[in-house]
């Protein structure tokens, strides 16, 4: 490998852009969080006062709880669906794999804003397809104002999130399965192993790396998603779908409390960095 200082010149453009528009704001956000703010102007240094406010901010804890639920649901449903679908597709012919892979991935290409609008209609209590469908099969009693009532809003949104994400899981898992030595499966078949045995004893353990990658990806996305909530419920009804990012957005743009918005941002940053540090430690282990 070449040792050369001109490597810095190769790094310079991307590093400069990255530090100026991502690195610097992160440092500033840290700084902002130690000050009281008035109309966008930094006032006095108040130490950790903004941080102690977190303890009594019920909206913050509600939002954090919702992000936590979102992490768990995303790890449970789209990842599992992706794994099962990929395992099924693995022994189908190449054309089926290509076409179905594309079909499952299509929702991921749709901007979350548009996904929110589409699903907003499906969930609409008056003309939405979901209530209509439930009625058609005689379950009309289960219908409701899915996004407008506190009991169902978050879960209903999560179905949309999963819709945009499971196809990505299929593609990642498929690529990993296709790199597994087919001889392993042939040997298992000769031993008379069932599909389920092969899935449990070969596929799942061999895909550990992909599962960790997707788990990390899903957890990070679950902490930082914004568009979907903002365009559908804006955190409502009440605080039923409030998440950290919407809390930050409202605190900054609607309330204008720069110091506290910065504090919430710091908390969000610390959480995602902690999650990734944990996942990388797991990834390093054989």
């Amino acid at each position: 490998m070449l040792t050369t200082r001109s490597a810095y010149l190769f790094l310079l453009p991307s590093l400069a852009l990255y530090l100026l528009f991502v690195g610097l704001p992160i440092l500033q956000v840290f700084g902002f969080s130690f000050f009281a703010w008035d109309n966008g102007i930094a006032g006095e240094f108040i130490g950790l006062a903004n941080y102690s406010r977190l303890l009594s901010d019920a909206v913050f804890w509600t939002a954090l709880w919702h992000n936590g639920i979102w992490v768990v649901l995303t790890l449970a449903f789209p990842l599992l669906a992706g794994l099962v679908i990929a395992a099924i597709l693995a022994d189908r012919n190449a054309n089926v794999v290509r076409w179905l892979g594309a079909v499952y991935f299509i929702p991921r290409t749709i901007p979350l804003v548009v996904a929110g609008i589409i699903w907003g209609w499906i969930y609409n209590p008056i003309f939405g397809l979901l209530n209509f469908g439930l009625e058609a099969v005689g379950l009309g009693g289960l219908g409701g104002a899915w996004l407008a009532q506190e009991s169902t809003a978050l879960l209903s949104l999560n179905v949309v999130g999963a819709w945009t994400f499971f196809g990505f899981c299929v593609i990642i898992y498929l690529a990993a399965i296709q790199s597994i030595d087919p001889a392993l499966y042939e040997a298992a078949s000769i031993d008379g192993a069932s599909w389920w045995r092969k899935f449990r004893d070969l596929t799942v353990p061999l895909l550990r790396g992909s599962t960790l990658f997707l788990g990390l990806y899903a957890a990070i996305e679950a902490m930082r998603f914004f568009d979907l909530v903002w365009v559908t419920t804006q955190g409502g009804p009440g605080y039923a779908t409030e998440v950290l990012t919407t809390h930050i957005y409202k605190t900054f743009f609607l309330v204008g409390d720069f110091g506290y918005a910065a504090t919430l941002s710091v908390v969000l940053l610390i959480i995602v960095l902690a999650i990734s540090a944990g996942a990388f430690t797991l990834l390093r282990k054989p």
């Binding site: 991307s14 852009l17 991502v22 499906i122």
Partner: protein, 272 residues
């Protein structure tokens, strides 16, 4: 394999195919139906296709402009990333220099930074630079936020370039930049293609940055336009459906046409 598990497996595949496609189909249906039969009749395609919704949204609701803005922003971000990230990826993959590990860790950390958590400071900075309500104010931060992923991916891709090729070029006395352009770039062209596609997809989908940076209507992209339409045209469902379709159809077509390249890019970061 016995028959019944296969049938069960097919049902799973079908159920998820419907989950993925039904919402897309509904938008398509709503977009090509006239106001009168929007909520009536079976959920099958009706002829003749009514393009009135598209015409109205495109001409009257400003979607011709939104569309152009999405193209301009996404293309600019893509070009910017393609001009910068491969250079850094090359340095991390093939060169040795003091501070390499730390600098790479710095980029890695950026992979998980949530855009909403930097916006509090970024907004003020853009204001100070006079970049609020300016395309540059979206393009530069957008490229910067995509940089960690792009550099990481390019490093993975360029690591696969055989060292012998690079050593041979060094023996011939080629300068580093010339080596990069004549030896590395031709070999990793498919990787560059993938990076370009993924960057374009993400840039086109972006909502938060243009939402806070643009105030002038004529600068806003499709995502912001479609979201605001919901409020302004509350009951014009055919129009909103047409708008949604305009906002995502190019991405779906691009993905279907370049599926192989997309998948290569998506998995380059995941499979080590």
């Amino acid at each position: 394999m016995t028959k019944s598990p296969r049938l069960f497996q097919n049902l799973i595949l079908l159920a998820f195919a419907l989950y993925a496609l039904v919402p897309v189909y509904l938008v398509f249906l709503a977009a090509i139906r006239s106001e009168a039969d929007l909520f009536s009749g079976p959920l099958t395609l009706s002829w003749p296709i009514n393009l009135g919704n598209f015409a109205r949204i495109w001409n009257e609701a400003g979607f011709a402009t939104y569309f152009m803005n999405s193209v301009i922003t996404a293309v600019s971000v893509t070009i910017l990333v393609l001009l910068t990230a491969p250079l850094a990826g090359f340095a991390f993959a093939k060169l040795r220099f003091p501070g390499k590990e730390i600098l790479f860790a710095l980029f890695l950390a950026g992979l998980v930074v949530p855009a909403p958590s930097v916006i509090v400071a970024l907004y003020g900075n853009l204001q100070a630079l006079g970049l609020i309500d300016n395309r540059i104010g979206v393009i530069l931060p957008q490229a910067a936020l995509l940089m960690p992923f792009s550099v990481f991916m390019m490093r993975t891709v360029i690591q696969d370039v055989p060292d012998e090729l690079i050593e041979a070029a060094v023996m011939d006395g080629a300068g580093l930049l010339k080596l990069f352009l004549t030896i590395v770039v031709p070999v990793v062209k498919p990787g560059l293609m993938s990076l370009g596609l993924i960057t374009f997809l993400f840039a086109w989908q972006e909502y938060l940055l243009p939402l806070v940076v643009f105030q002038t209507e004529s600068l806003k992209p499709l995502t912001v336009g479609a979201a605001s339409l919901q409020g302004r045209y509350g009951v014009d469902y055919g129009g909103i459906a047409a708008a949604g379709l305009i906002a995502f159809a190019p991405l779906v077509v691009l993905f279907l046409a370049m599926q192989r390249s997309f998948v290569r890019g998506l998995t380059a970061g995941a499979v080590k």
